[in-house]
């Protein structure tokens, strides 16, 4: 059975995206009588090139095989577990983006910094908590003051 390597996954995902965008490019308004080429031409050229390059990567990965691995192959669960810090940080950032308009800059940013610093630094000692709160409680108001009063930017 064929294994799903990085290159194969990349090529397949991109081919899917190319297919979806090609269909969507059908909705672009056709050229008027005075235009030699329409607005769909440039993106379609790029879609063809992207599709061809993705196909080449796929074919090459099939010819050369999955390649050598420096690390032992992991199951999806193990892979998720190994990268849990990074994924958790992405989730925290997504939550931050969602909560920013609801809670406002000060509360949302403070919550994001305290939680993400807790995630990365750890919460198992008093020293880590002091660093965490010192960084968060200094930076959040400082950035607010710089943007609001120095740069005249209203934060949410």
């Amino acid at each position: 059975m064929l294994t799903l390597t990085k290159d194969r996954a990349l090529a397949l995902v991109l081919l899917l995206i190319v297919a979806v965008m090609w269909v969507e490019s059908g909705n672009i308004r056709p050229p008027t009588s005075w235009q030699p080429y329409g607005s769909a031409l440039f993106p379609r050229i790029l879609l063809v090139v992207t599709g061809l390059l993705s196909l080449l990567i796929l074919v090459r990965s099939l010819i050369t095989g999955p390649g050598e691995r420096s690390a032992p192959r992991r199951s999806f669960g193990e892979w998720l577990g190994h990268n849990r810090t990074v994924f958790s940080l992405f989730v925290l950032f997504g939550l931050y983006a969602a909560l920013l308009p609801v809670l406002g800059y000060i509360i949302a940013t403070l919550a994001f910094l305290v939680t993400s610093l807790g995630l990365l630094l750890g919460i198992d000692s008093r020293r880590k908590w002091i660093i965490n709160l010192a960084v968060s409680c200094t930076l959040v108001p400082l950035v607010f003051v710089i943007f609001r009063f120095g740069l005249n930017v209203w934060l949410p």
Binding site: K6, D7, A9, L10, L14, M21, E24, S25, I28, R29, Q35, P36, Y37, G38, S39, A40, F42, P43, L46, L47, V49, T50, L53, S54, L56, I57, R60, N83, T85, V86, L89, F90, F93, G94, Y96, A97, L100, P101, Y105, T109, F112, L113, S116, L117, L120, L121, I131, V135, L139, V143, I146, F147, G150, L151, N152, V153, W154, L155, P156
Partner: protein, 505 residues
């Protein structure tokens, strides 16, 4: 030009702009000295602060970061043995052993002096060649500009060593991103019935998302182990000024050669400090009477490395200002900032914004002086700052990126753009897709489409691209760069195979 330069110098030497240059240089050195933070990240973090500034102030601040950033890598390279930026990798080869031999102050002093001279020589190159190239490229018409952009993209993609296909793919994806939203004929493309996509993506949140997330998350994965080295590092450094003057007096030719290599490499699209670093280090070793001392703490190695990577700063401005094609990744971000301030880099910039061009020259010169003073006076503090762990740095920079993206248009959608492209950038980085061609594609996409259609409106035959000599030359160079990269990829593969077949020692 002299009048404009004096006018620009007058603006740049006002107390507020001078203060911005000092802040920029300080921040650049700090950014460069923190392992994994890089010059590009420092520029990304600072750019939101330029929104409320006039163009001269904004550009001066950014130039300060640029100059400081390229010299900052030496601090962690010498003190920790970890290059602060990729462009100071070879600095570690001799800087770290010299520090280990009890001479960290000497290593830092030599590096700073070489950085200073490298920056000055590169400014001379910029002042001399920038206007020359710009006046030559004034003759370029849409066919030539289209072909030149294609050449620049293939060159950058080809330089992604061992990954030509992925480099080309990245460049195409970058171009594709710019096709979302209304085009120049007010036709809507790829909005998928989402109203927010109608206006397309802002370049800066896309660039920050792609670059910053992949870089920061990658740092989390890679640098934790390396920062273990930082524990117990002695940051008390004294600079032996007399010895450094003596060292530099014996390095005149090496400094000049390395600075010229840096300026030249910086001027080539997509190369940047890392390539300049390796080439000049290699050349210094070849020209040296004592090549065996390289890698053991010789001043020649530090000079070659630092003079060349700092000279990239001025060199990279040449294609950016003269042609509108960024020389490297930090310059692509700089170009985004210039566009944000309503300035379109390219041949016309020298005619339309001469004072701003002069301000860039003046900021580079003043920034170089400020850099030397800051580095020599505050090196102990920079050494301490370089010990900040990634665990603290990553969330803080992510927060600053989010606020910077929001502040661009006071629009929360831009934070989502940042997030989505952050995820995409991280996944592409995991799939070993080079991100520099992608970012250059995003920066150059709109111009490429505009020039292509202008050419086709003037003459609807595609053959014109091949019948106009300069356009044909650029396209031939594009094909040649792809063929050369294929050859190089093959060579790398063969070497790897050969190495695998060798019996283990």
């Amino acid at each position: 030009m002299a009048d404009f330069f004096l006018q620009a110098l007058g603006q740049v030497s006002s107390p507020s702009v001078l203060a911005l240059i000092v802040i920029g240089v300080l921040f650049g050195i700090i950014g460069g000295s923190i392992p994994g933070f890089t010059v590009t990240m420092a520029i990304l973090v600072v750019f939101p602060f330029t929104f409320a500034m006039d163009p001269v102030s904004g550009v001066s601040l950014m130039v300060g970061v640029f100059v400081g950033g390229y010299s900052g890598g030496i601090v962690s390279g010498v003190m920790l043995g970890i290059p602060g930026t990729p462009s100071s990798i070879t600095t570690v080869y001799d800087g770290y052993p010299m520090a280990q031999n009890g001479e960290p102050g000497r290593a830092l002093g030599i590096g700073v002096a070489a950085s200073f001279i490298g920056t000055l020589i590169s400014v001379a190159v910029l002042v001399f060649f920038g206007p020359l190239i710009a006046s030559f490229s004034m003759n370029f018409r849409p066919w030539e500009i289209t072909a030149l952009i294609v050449f620049a993209l293939t060159l950058v993609a080809g330089l992604s060593s061992g990954a030509l296909l992925k480099g080309l793919l990245a460049a195409t994806l970058g171009l594709l991103i710019t096709t979302v939203g209304y085009d120049r004929n007010s036709n809507l493309r790829f909005d998928f019935d989402i109203p927010a996509l109608g206006s397309g993506f802002e370049i800066l949140p896309v660039m920050i998302g792609i670059f910053a997330f992949s870089q920061l998350m990658g740092n989390l994965e890679k640098l934790r182990d390396e920062q273990g080295k930082a524990k117990g590092v002695d940051t008390s450094v004294t600079i032996p000024y007399g010895l450094i003057l003596k060292d530099m007096a014996g390095q005149k030719l090496n400094t000049l050669r390395s600075s010229l290599i840096g300026s030249l490499v910086g001027a080539l699209p997509g190369t940047g400090g890392t390539v300049a670093n390796f080439i000049s280090y290699d050349q210094a070793k070849k020209f040296s009477r004592h090549p065996e001392t390289f890698g053991k703490g010789t001043p020649s190695g530090i000079v070659a490395s630092e003079a060349s990577n700092s000279a990239v700063a001025g060199g990279a401005f040449v294609p950016t200002l003269a042609l509108g094609i960024p020389g490297d990744l930090p310059m692509a971000i700089m170009m985004g900032v210039l566009i944000l301030h309503g300035i379109n880099p390219g041949p016309l910039m020298f005619e339309q914004n001469p004072v701003l061009v002069g301000a860039i020259y003046a900021s580079l010169l003043i920034g170089a002086v400020v850099m030397v003073l800051c580095q020599l006076l505050l090196v102990r503090w920079f050494a301490k700052i370089s010990l900040i762990p990634q665990e603290i740095l990553v969330p803080v920079v992510l927060m600053l990126c989010a606020i910077g993206s929001y502040a661009l248009n006071n629009n929360l959608f831009d934070i989502w753009v940042l997030f989505v492209f952050g995820v995409i950038g991280y996944l592409l980085w995991k799939a070993e897709v080079p991100l520099t061609p992608l970012i250059l594609g995003v920066v150059l996409g709109n111009n490429l489409e505009r020039q292509l259609f202008r050419a086709l409106e003037l003459d609807d035959s595609w053959m014109t691209f091949l019948t106009r000599p300069l356009s044909a030359l650029f396209l031939a160079l594009a094909v040649a760069s792809v063929i050369f990269s294929l050859y190089q990829d093959r060579k790398i593969q063969q070497n790897q195979l050969r190495a695998k077949n060798l019996p283990e020692q």
